[in-house]
Symmetry: C2
Subunit: 385 residues, 2 copies
């Protein structure tokens, strides 16, 4: 396998972007990445998107995006793994470059979620759960994650306040990110007194409905220094694992096995351990998710993720800063784009381009992105070349 | 790049399979392929599916299928390129094996289309065209292919009867295929007198709405002889190209540039030319498609595809037998599965397992699968090891 590096990044703002269509969003991010990399062509592209069919009535978006980007007739493939669609785009593109089939590959993600109403968006998102055994019975994602929160609180004593502290930390970080959808700072009291969604989760525990896109240019690591003006970022670890689609089929609702397994593979491939990671973006679709994920990645002992938040260990300036971008919670969660947006944040951190939210001199960064209640998870580890 | 071989195939019947759900169909095909290959595990899997979101309200079907197949926690990714989704599953899986990341990979395709009514199915299929510039204006696929037929008839003198002969040939072949949805033989008169759909196309020019699934096991060619009892089939060429998503953006509606470009790449990789191909499955979603595709693949001169059909050159026993399975027209068109079903047919032909529709002693086979009006096309060339 050839080593693979990131040589360009591009990203739209996150928000209710009513003046930009699905294709407008993707093309803006892709042109940004192409410009950042300084490449004059691409050989192939992958588009991560969860449900353009349900959100905007458009499938077949691989060739659609190649066409609107002016890159046809390059091969263009759409990949989907619910909210992990962006990371599977990165992984499939990385495997194509690793194979030697092509050199300069665009990998991106996009979702246009605000053209439908809230009920329709909730229906579309619920298709990431088991339609026949979960969604059909009426449960949606806030309810599923609420059950995980209850399980974690019961088993480990995680507190309602610790959940709120995840949101507070991520909004603090997001307030320093010009791309963030909800950059306002919030307090624990504001979270606790916000409207209930699915007990114990309140609206300020939930990531928003977001339009947005993000893109990367990747190439063989040994060619990376030919392109762009910035330090290439080498992808040194990639792990992908799955779990049962339905939450009720798992032995333990307070853990995320696919996250642990995808992390173990990425750590092994990279030859790194949790203490080697300097900055990390994780999938905080709900506050409880960040707590369980931080345990599965080895940043906190099992059951101690809440305590780690409370102690400030995952804040900017803490032992392992998590979600410096603001995370899905504050930056926004354009589901098919989120995995790539995480890599954009880590790339900028490793380049030293993160401004007010810059972690001091990071060498190794990580992203963790998952679909559904963790039925799919991908972890990538990157370092400055 | 490592060479890759097919060591197992599996496939459901095609039809209105009301007693089997999306997951049932995929698992039946996948277990067939696993059994045929004689493998005791898989390392990774790819699922091609066009629109499980619109057809059955289920996205995230990579992990869903891994789960129901009992193969979790293997990495599982859904890929989509409209009606070419099956072939992109093969290509992405092939690139993963070629890269060295994994050895035993399941690649499959599935579509469950008959749980919705005809209007909903037509809407779902129209999402493979340009939603904003084609589908929104009311045109659907029979109308788009009808325009291509009119252009080809006007430019080259292709006759209404020649279109009908494609359907007659494919139903002749399908009558010998136990998996076919519509195995009845038909006549040119029956086609000409069948109900009009979009002038000049009639209902017997159109492929049907189909439930079905197909799957392959692939592995490094140098390991292939360890598995199964049958001759491994090496993938010697793979080409993937795109074109404008909208038909009206093309210079010529009577040709398919992405088909020609994907074929050129596959021929170059394989070191083969059209006259080297002994048997071929092509994407005959409408009768006119087979005529234009056969020209783009080099089996007939430009404008002479209709004459080649009329002369029997593409019939069983002809110069280059096309769609021995019955094609999408008679065998059926479960859209996400069709690309893999084509490879199942070619694998069985190359193994000599095709019974009454066996081509005499074929050495090299080809598949051509496309999405929309040819905005994406993939060509694969295979030979007996």
């Amino acid at each position: 396998m050839r080593d693979v590096a990131i040589i360009g990044v591009g990203m739209t703002n996150c928000g209710e972007l009513w003046e930009q269509s699905l294709r407008d969003l993707f093309v803006e991010a892709a042109l940004g990445a192409i410009d950042d990399a300084g490449v004059d062509h691409i050989d192939s592209m992958y588009v991560g998107c969860m449900s353009s069919g349900l959100f905007v009535g458009q499938e077949h978006i691989g060739p659609l995006m190649a066409d609107y980007l002016g890159m046809g007739p390059v091969p263009a493939t759409r990949v989907e793994s619910a909210c992990a669609s962006g990371s599977v785009a990165l992984r499939t593109g990385m495997l194509e470059v690793a194979s030697g089939a092509n050199d300069i590959v665009l990998v991106g993600g996009v979702e246009k979620m605000t053209d439908v109403g809230g009920d329709e968006a909730t229906y579309a998102l619920a298709t990431a759960s088991d339609q026949e055994w979960e969604a059909f019975s009426g449960i949606t994602f806030p309810g599923l994650y609420a059950m995980m929160a209850v399980a974690h609180m019961h088993k480990y004593g995680t507190t309602r306040e610790q959940l709120a502290m995840v949101a507070v930390k991520n909004h603090d970080n997001g307030s320093k990110n010009a791309r963030a959808q909800f950059p306002m700072k919030i307090s624990v009291d504001m979270v606790l007194n916000s409207v209930a969604v699915a007990d114990p989760l309140r609206i300020l525990d939930c990531s928003p409905i977001t339009d947005g896109a993000a893109a990367l240019i990747i190439c063989p690591a040994d060619q990376a220094k030919k392109f762009g003006n910035k330090a290439p970022i080498k992808i040194i670890g990639s792990g992908h694992a799955t779990d049962t689609i339905a939450l009720h089929d798992r032995a333990d609702m307070a853990s995320l096995e696919a996250v642990a397994k995808s992390a173990a593979k990425a750590y092994e491939m990279a030859g790194k351990k949790p203490s080697d990671i300097d900055v990390c973006e994780v999938h905080d679709c709900f506050t409880i998710a960040e707590i369980i994920v931080s345990e599965a990645l080895g940043f906190a002992e099992k059951g101690k993720g809440g305590a780690a938040i409370e102690a400030g260990e995952t804040a900017l300036g803490g032992r392992i800063p998590i979600n410096t971008s603001g995370g899905l919670k504050s930056k926004g969660h354009p589901v098919g784009a989120s995995g790539i947006a995480q890599v954009v944040e880590i790339t900028e951190q490793l380049r030293g381009d993160s401004g007010d939210r810059q972690v001091k001199d990071p060498k190794v960064g990580m992203t963790q992105n998952m679909g559904g209640t963790g039925a799919s998870s991908l972890v990538h580890i990157m370092e400055v070349m």
